[in-house]
């Protein structure tokens, strides 16, 4: 399952990221989006992109196109 398919307010755990450029993957990892971390999709911003997510204990606005590259499982 990838993060784009997860409904809002459902907690999931990150398994990994695939199909991303190294730059994007490093950036996401630096921001705290790493395997094992819990994620909850909170809301879509007014133009439906980016998506506000609770990643660990911090809020991130993640570009919508990336969600389909983030593999997750239900927490």
């Amino acid at each position: 399952m990838t993060l784009d398919a997860v409904p809002l307010d459902v907690p999931v755990r990150v398994l990994g990221c695939g199909g991303l450029t190294i730059t994007d993957r490093d950036r996401l990892a630096g921001l705290g989006l790493r395997p094992g971390v819990s994620v909850v999709k909170i809301l879509s911003t007014p133009l439906r992109d980016p998506i506000e997510c609770l990643v660990g204990s911090q809020l991130l606005a993640i570009e919508a196109r990336l969600l389909s590259h983030i593999r997750v499982e239900l927490a």
Partner: protein, 658 residues
């Protein structure tokens, strides 16, 4: 050798607040990632002697991706190379420890002498987080102090930690980030992530609730402020109210300042004997400087609001909201903070582009940032709008002058987007959207920090007025007062003499002749002659020689325009303070009795000032940030040409529409 303490850490962990608390300096702080893009240095007088504190830009990982992150790693590598007495004090946010411990763990593994300040401990306590500092210290093998830079808690323990004697750390084996292989950095990062996770888990007791109270509160606020329908309306309303407040809120104070400075000039004129000194002070220095100083209340209101938005945590959300809308123009949400900073001044806005990883997008942002309406334009806009937009104009019941001001801000944004769209089809375009941005928790802005921020911006404005404009006013006074053209003055002087001796006396005729004499003096002066020389170039825009001279003098800094016009009109005997200048512009007449300036001239001037790059400091900053004179030279020439063409078109169109 003085000890160097380098403050390092992820963005928005409170490094600059800690820096200010330790050094007593007033570096800018805000509640978003990337506020600090250049290192700042200050001296802290610790109990055991002085130490040098260096505030480094925030870094998200051991793999620098942006210009500001590169600054931090380059500094650390250079310090290690110099083998000085260095201590890297990593700053971590207590409520985000697992992420924030990666950098200290990585730097320690890279061989740097490292200590840790766990900041915002007061906020962590509110969140119900318990921290075991000795355990954390043992796990990371470095000293750990729990602090709150905002309240001052824990700073005494930090003092003891930072105080010399020197560490005599061996820096010969430290990793040089400038030359290290990517593979080595990735390995370092991966190891640091594991170490950070283990240290955080062992030393921290998390509250039973899965979401921290501060984060839960931020989510509730976001559900309103980022609501699909309400979010954009709230953003637009906040911006619109800001511009209304600029006019409505500032007016009483502006009037007070204007009246006070006008009275000062009148009192000095009455006290001093007629002559060069009286004219220098009352017609040169005071009108020139006072024409600018009266705008301080507006500057204060603008920065109070911008500072509030910066410190509350709303700015990165606004950036996220506009991200999608900016993509068709070849931009993304990361330009929002540089652009918004440019509303204060283009210089911090241009420097804020360092957080943009793509070099081409960074240059596009640098080229467009000066189009945002900076504070230096406020005096010019206010003068022209107040003089030429009737106070009775009130569309939909709003203050019409405020609406026009908001329109000028909007015009700058529209121009920037239009040019961004053009650049999308040039070699400057690069697809590089932001993968993600941090949305910090909402925080109540500190009144003290806000007051410091507003004062710093006002002082910056005042010191420019005090230095550049004061000196320019004196030079302009000299140029406008000398030489005296006897051929031009003699006939008017003779008529004035005759009017004085006539019986019965005609005070109205005498006053009119005095004004004519003052006008003849300035027309025959060096400034008047130079103005007439350049007048044909700007005549198509509806400018006379006075406005042309003022606009040219504003090439140094935009706000000089108001001071120059103030001096010219005071010497011409047509005004003596800012309020008088507004009236003088509104009522100025040509020799044939027609109005000297109309709405078309005002529109032409407003358009010109909205586009032209009239700021030497900005040009120098662009040169520094791009490491090339070619880019600022092309930027200046292009924007000047565009400003001229659009001003001409606007002037003609306004005349045509009547």
């Amino acid at each position: 050798m003085i000890r160097v303490i380098a403050l390092a850490g992820r963005p928005n962990t409170g490094k600059t607040t800690l820096f200010n608390a330790l050094t007593g300096l007033r570096q800018r702080t805000a509640n978003f990632a990337g506020c600090t893009v250049e290192k700042a240095t200050g001296i802290m007088t610790a109990s055991g002697g002085d130490v040098e504190i260096v505030d480094l830009p925030g870094t998200f990982s051991m793999l620098p991706q942006t210009a500001d992150e590169a600054v931090a790693f380059r500094f650390l590598s250079e310090c290690a190379e110099a083998a000085g007495d260095l201590l890297v004090l990593c700053v971590a946010e207590a409520s985000n420890l697992e992420n924030d411990l990666v950098l200290p763990a990585g730097l320690k593994a890279a061989g740097y002498p490292t200590a840790l300040a766990v900041n915002m401990i007061d906020e962590a306590r509110l969140n119900g987080i318990k921290l075991d500092a000795p355990e954390l210290s043992a796990r990371l093998a470095m000293p750990v102090v729990l602090v709150s830079a905002r309240t001052g808690e824990g700073l005494e323990q930090l003092d003891a930690l930072l105080t010399p004697p020197p560490l005599h750390a061996d820096l010969t084996e430290t990793l040089d980030f400038r030359t290290a292989a990517k593979k080595r950095l990735h390995q370092l990062q991966d190891d640091a992530v594991e170490a950070a996770k283990a240290a955080a888990a062992a030393s921290m007791i998390w509250p039973r609730r899965s979401v921290l109270p501060t984060v839960a509160c931020s989510i509730r606020i976001d559900r309103v402020l980022l609501h699909p329908a309400a979010g954009p309306v709230i953003l637009a309303a906040a911006m619109f109210l800001l511009f209304q407040a600029l006019f409505v809120g500032a007016k009483p104070l502006m009037d007070l300042l204007s009246d006070g400075l006008g009275s000062l000039a009148d009192s000095l004129r009455a006290l001093l004997p007629d002559g060069a000194l009286s004219s220098l002070l009352c017609d040169g220095a005071i009108p020139g400087v006072s024409a600018v100083i009266v705008f301080v209340p507006q500057i204060a209101i603008l920065f109070t609001m911008i500072g509030f938005l910066e410190q509350s945590g709303y700015l990165p959300r606004a950036g996220a909201m506009v991200d999608r809308a900016l993509r068709p123009f070849g931009l993304d949400g990361r330009v929002f903070i540089p652009f918004l900073s440019s509303f204060a001044c283009a210089i911090p806005g241009i420097m804020a582009t360092r957080t943009i990883p793509s070099e081409k997008r960074r240059i596009v942002t640098i080229l467009l940032a000066p189009l945002m309406t900076c504070s230096a334009r406020i005096p010019v806009y206010t003068l022209l709008i107040t003089a030429f937009v009737p106070a009775t104009f009130s569309p939909l019941g709003f203050n019409g002058q405020g609406v026009v001001m908001a329109g000028m801000y909007l015009f700058g944004i529209v121009m920037a987007l239009a040019l961004a769209l053009v650049m999308k089809y040039t070699s400057l375009h690069e697809m590089h959207p932001a993968p993600a941005t941090v949305l910090p928790p909402y925080r109540v802005p500190s009144a003290k920090e806000l007051a410091r921020y507003v004062w710093a911006r006002c002082w910056h404005f005042l010191s420019r007025a005090g230095q550049v404009i004061f000196i320019l006013s004196l030079v302009l006074w000299a140029l406008a007062a000398f030489p005296r053209d006897a051929a031009l003055l003699a006939p008017v002087e003779a008529r004035l003499e005759a009017a004085r001796e006539a019986s019965p006396a005609d005070p109205a005729l005498e006053a009119s002749l005095r004004d004519q004499l003052a006008a003849a003096r300035i027309e025959g002066s060096a400034l008047g002659r130079a103005g007439r020389l350049i007048e044909p170039v700007f005549r198509p825009l509806g400018w006379d020689w006075r406005v042309s001279v003022a606009s040219l003098s504003a090439l140094a800094a935009r706000e000089v325009f108001v001071g120059t016009l103030g001096t010219i009109y005071a010497l011409g005997g047509e005004s003596n303070a800012s309020d008088g200048l507004i009236t003088a512009l509104r009522e100025a007449k040509n020799a044939d009795g027609t109005r000297r300036y109309g709405l078309a001239t005002a529109v032409s001037l407003l358009i010109f000032f909205a586009i032209a790059l009239q700021c030497v400091s900005t040009i120098v900053t662009v040169r520094r940030e791009t490491n090339s004179w070619k880019i600022p030279a092309m930027q200046f020439a292009f924007l000047f040409g565009l400003a001229y063409l659009l001003s001409f078109a606007a002037y003609r169109l306004t005349l045509f529409l009547g």
